[in-house]
């Protein structure tokens, strides 16, 4: 029985706002601190966060190339309660996804989570089918060197040190990019409001790093980095792609790149940048900056967040993940994948793959007899779907993706990290109702659980998509 009025609701909200306990501490200072904490993932934060991994220190792992969800009908997945009927947006056929270890066993590796000296590893991307590029961090998000882990030998070697430039305090190296001849990265002082960044390169085969140069102002808002034989190239936050000669010297905007964002050299898109999550949009053009060739993307009306590489595009339509070619052919939606989540691009041996969160799976649906992943790698060429991580019985779980500037080939998680659950009996009416209209509503006492992370930190399970066997067609 509806016994309250809208006026009461208005008053309760206004009263709550008035009675809100004040924010603790100096908000300006807190925001500054947050900038700092975001150091390592500064630009990735423009993308949505899909999962959480212990290695990130209670922080967040990131997924690249994501976009803000554009809505859609249906229930919002909230992570709760092994109780009432919870809507599953998933097509049962699609949900029956097998773990990546079964789909591409040759691409799955175990690597230590830390170096012998205790520095923590953070996967960047695969260099080849057998080599993983890792950054080693002396403290949280403070990358100090690059290492190459050989999955055949089970051993890591130092590629190069990542020194801070002299006289620069609070310096953090940011995204690392792998080019043909060089590995490049950029760094900044994220805990200051200064708009400043610098660029470094080291030979891909190993050797001392060299600083290429520095930039200030809008140019220092680096969103993505590339490295060619003779230059570093990067996207600025508001669009435009710039280059600086490896030998140093003035930077210049690459002609005709106004409003473009680097996808992965030499490809650029007219979507992306730092507002990606809050300003959703479709990519309508793909530009090859080496040849000047422009490909128009066929975007259907209901499609959201479309992102295209040269061969495949990924986006969402009607709450389902979508794949198509830039010219609109081979379109297919993937019911059950990507509902409420963001697709992103990953690099595989044969090109880009789609990467989607799996949502809408209620905790009661994952049990000993049923594997439910946290995310899925989708290969549009073969239609293969490979499950990443494993959803806990309480509905949670975490994974990370490699932090290279271009789409990474690495997805990883900590299989030993468990979520410990503490449960208590509570009144059912105090719990969120997430079922569809007309679904049975729980009544009486039900079990509600709180989750904390336990264990982990020793070993990562790493999927290197460059090690997925070539498809024989």
């Amino acid at each position: 029985m509806n016994d309250r009025s809208e006026a009461e609701l208005i008053r309760v909200l206004a009263d709550a706002a008035d009675a809100a306990p004040g924010p603790e501490g100096d908000l300006v200072e807190t925001v500054r601190m947050r900038w700092r904490r975001r150091a390592r993932r500064r630009l990735q934060s423009a993308f949505a966060v899909l999962g959480v991994l212990a290695v990130v220190g209670g922080g967040t792992a990131v997924a690249r190339g994501a976009f803000f969800r554009g809505g859609g009908e249906g229930d919002v997945f909230t992570a709760v309660t092994p109780t009432a009927a919870q809507s599953s947006a998933l097509d049962p056929d699609v949900v029956d996804i097998r773990p990546v270890s079964e789909i591409w066993p040759s691409a799955v590796f175990k690597i230590p989570a830390a170096a012998a000296d205790g520095w923590k590893y953070r996967p960047i991307t695969g260099l080849s089918a057998t080599q993983l590029l890792l950054s080693a961090e002396s403290s949280f998000e403070k990358a100090g060197r690059l290492e190459v882990y050989d999955t055949t030998a089970g051993r890591s070697t130092v590629l190069t040190q990542m020194p801070a430039p002299e006289g620069v305090k609070g310096y953090f190296a940011q995204d690392v990019e792998v080019g043909t001849d060089y590995v490049a990265w950029w760094g900044e002082t994220p805990n200051t409001p200064d708009k400043w960044a610098d660029f470094w390169v080291a030979p891909r085969t190993g050797g001392p790093a060299r600083r290429v140069g520095e930039v200030t102002g809008a140019l220092a808002e680096v969103t993505r980095l590339g490295v060619t034989r003779d230059s570093v190239v990067w996207s600025a936050g508001d669009g435009g792609i710039y280059r600086m000669p490896l030998g140093g010297g003035a930077s210049e905007r690459i002609e005709g790149t106004e409003g473009l964002h680097l996808l992965t050299w030499p490809w650029a898109a007219d979507a992306g940048g730092k507002d990606e999550e809050t300003v959703p949009g479709n990519q309508t053009r793909l530009v090859n900056l080496e040849t000047g060739q422009t490909t128009e993307v066929d975007v259907q009306e209901e499609v959201k967040g479309l992102r295209c590489g040269p061969v495949w595009c990924f986006g969402a339509e009607g709450g389902a993940a979508l794949a198509q070619r830039p010219d609109g052919s081979d379109r297919r939606t993937l019911p059950g994948l990507g509902e409420g989540s963001e697709p992103s691009l990953l690099t595989g041996g044969t090109g880009f793959l789609g990467f989607f969160g799996v949502l809408g799976v209620g905790p009661q649906e994952a049990d000993e007899n049923r594997y439910v992943p946290l995310a899925v790698v989708y290969d549009p060429a073969t239609g293969a779907t490979a499950g990443i991580g494993e959803r806990d019985r309480n509905g949670g779980g975490g994974f990370g993706v490699g932090i290279s500037s271009s789409p990474t080939s690495i997805v990883y998680w900590d299989a030993d990290e468990k979520q410990a659950q503490e449960c208590e009996q509570v009144d059912a009416t105090s719990l969120p109702l997430t079922g569809p209209s007309g679904a049975p509503t729980p009544t009486g006492k039900v079990r509600a659980c709180t989750t904390t992370q336990k264990g982990g930190g020793k070993e990562f399970t790493v999927v290197n998509l460059l090690a997925v066997p070539a498809i024989t067609q």
Partner: protein
């Protein structure tokens, strides 16, 4: 105006909005800080062209319903509402305030935008990037759960 001035002047109001959106102090602070940080990133552009407060409020509403916050909340507190929660400062219907906590984020966001921010359904639809029909159905579902009576006349008047 400088970014820090904006935060100093508007921070408290934004935090209150965050509190109404999220229902608790911790999430309100997190949401406000995250949105302000993003505003800071875009400050030079937003200050010139747009309304910074509108930008940050929109960001807060979108973040609130976005996936990463849901997953994060899941990790942190498993999204179980504080059953024993009471707020001595709330003179009015603490029952209704507590029941608001049981709504999924999107439903709650729609109600807050409609009844606290006083936006039209069309404005809410644009802000959240969903259809007006979704706004209406989410609001109707939420109001029904909260046992809030909506008369046609009120609907017209509010809209």
């Amino acid at each position: 105006m400088e970014f820090t001035d904006f935060v100093a002047v508007r921070g408290s109001a934004l935090y209150r909005y965050g509190y109404v959106l999220t229902g608790n102090a911790e999430d309100a602070a997190d949401l406000t800080q995250e949105a302000l940080m993003r505003l800071g990133d875009a400050w030079s552009r937003i200050r010139k062209k747009d309304d910074p407060e509108g930008y940050v409020r929109t960001t807060m509403a979108r973040l609130h319903i976005s996936l990463w916050r849901r997953l994060r909340r899941e990790r942190l507190v498993a999204a179980v509402p504080e059953a024993a929660y009471t707020d001595d400062h709330l003179g009015g219907d603490t029952g209704l305030w507590n029941e608001l906590k049981t709504l999924p984020p999107k439903q709650r966001a729609v109600l807050v935008l409609r009844y606290y921010e006083d936006l039209s359904d069309q404005e809410i639809a644009e802000l959240l990037g969903i259809s007006r029909g979704t706004v209406r159905s989410q609001a109707a579902r939420a109001l029904d759960k909260l046992r809030v009576r909506v008369t046609e006349a009120e609907t017209e008047a509010v809209r």
